[in-house]
Amino acid sequence: MSRGHPSDAQLARWAEAGKGKRAASHAIHCLLCERRLETITELAPRLREQLAASLEPPGTFEQRLQERLSQRLLDHETIALVTDLVDVGPETTRLLLEARERDEDDE
């Protein structure tokens, strides 16, 4: 490598062990060295696949999320509606609705 630019070994040493911070500081601001660092640290396709697999949501995630969100939105709308009709605060409405649900469960 020409003068001023760190060698591949220096860049790798910084990426892997945090040694040679001057090389890193140069690389972060030098487009050429930044690209070299990208190549040096590039993830192999297999590793990338495994990474993706480890972060993938469970198969039922979207359906479960949709159901939970629908329920939350419905609760929100119910509270807003009752708050308007009965002219009480949202917390009071929430308590009233919870009390009613408890009564229904007891029956």
């Binding site: 660092l37 995630f61 479960r64």
Partner: protein, 173 residues
């Protein structure tokens, strides 16, 4: 009591709007969330809160950045906040997400190596890796979503990738 058609209409509209957001961005939100909280159930909770917050504050989305970036930013904030609450509740590191032995035990060898490598990274570095490697975002976009400076994005990414390569080396093709 007679049903208020207006309120019902609002619910249906909200439901459809959120449904569309989940269809388009749900998995990306989950990936970022699970990379931070390291627990699938918690990541689902984070995703849920993200979409609820997005829906409630939809008026504040100005449309300058893509919707997905806005959602990712909310998800990041919710996930970090969740992690912080957990840490305050349980000072014992073994009770934190990521310490669940059963999650690791149920995975194959390669998956374990990747999990181990991810667990060695801090939450910010994991977020950066996910946004770059999985979502394909630019350094500038990542910086905007996570609210960190460009050099920080690059530094964390390169070091995180080196850690992943080193710890999960046997996964390399």
């Amino acid at each position: 009591m007679a049903e208020d058609p207006g309120a019902r209409q609002t619910t249906i509209g909200a439901d459809e709007g959120v449904r569309e957001m989940v269809d388009q961005h749900g998995p990306a939100i989950y990936r970022l969330a699970v990379s931070i909280v390291r627990d699938p159930a918690l990541a689902e909770d984070v995703a849920q809160e993200t979409f609820i917050m997005a829906w409630r504050h939809r008026d504040t989305y100005r449309g300058v950045a893509p919707l997905r970036h806005w959602l990712l930013r909310i998800a990041h904030n919710v996930a970090v906040s969740t992690l912080r609450s957990l840490r305050e509740e349980a000072r014992d590191p073994s009770t934190l997400p990521g310490g669940h032995a059963e999650v690791v035990e149920s995975t194959v060898a390669n998956r374990m190596a990747v999990e181990e490598a991810l667990s060695l990274l801090d939450p910010l570095s994991r977020s950066i890796v996910v946004l770059r490697e999985m979502e394909g975002l630019s350094y500038a976009e990542i910086g905007q979503i996570l609210g960190v400076a460009l050099p920080t994005v690059k530094t964390r990414l390169f070091r995180a990738r080196a850690t992943l390569r080193e710890i999960a080396g046997e996964v390399r093709s």
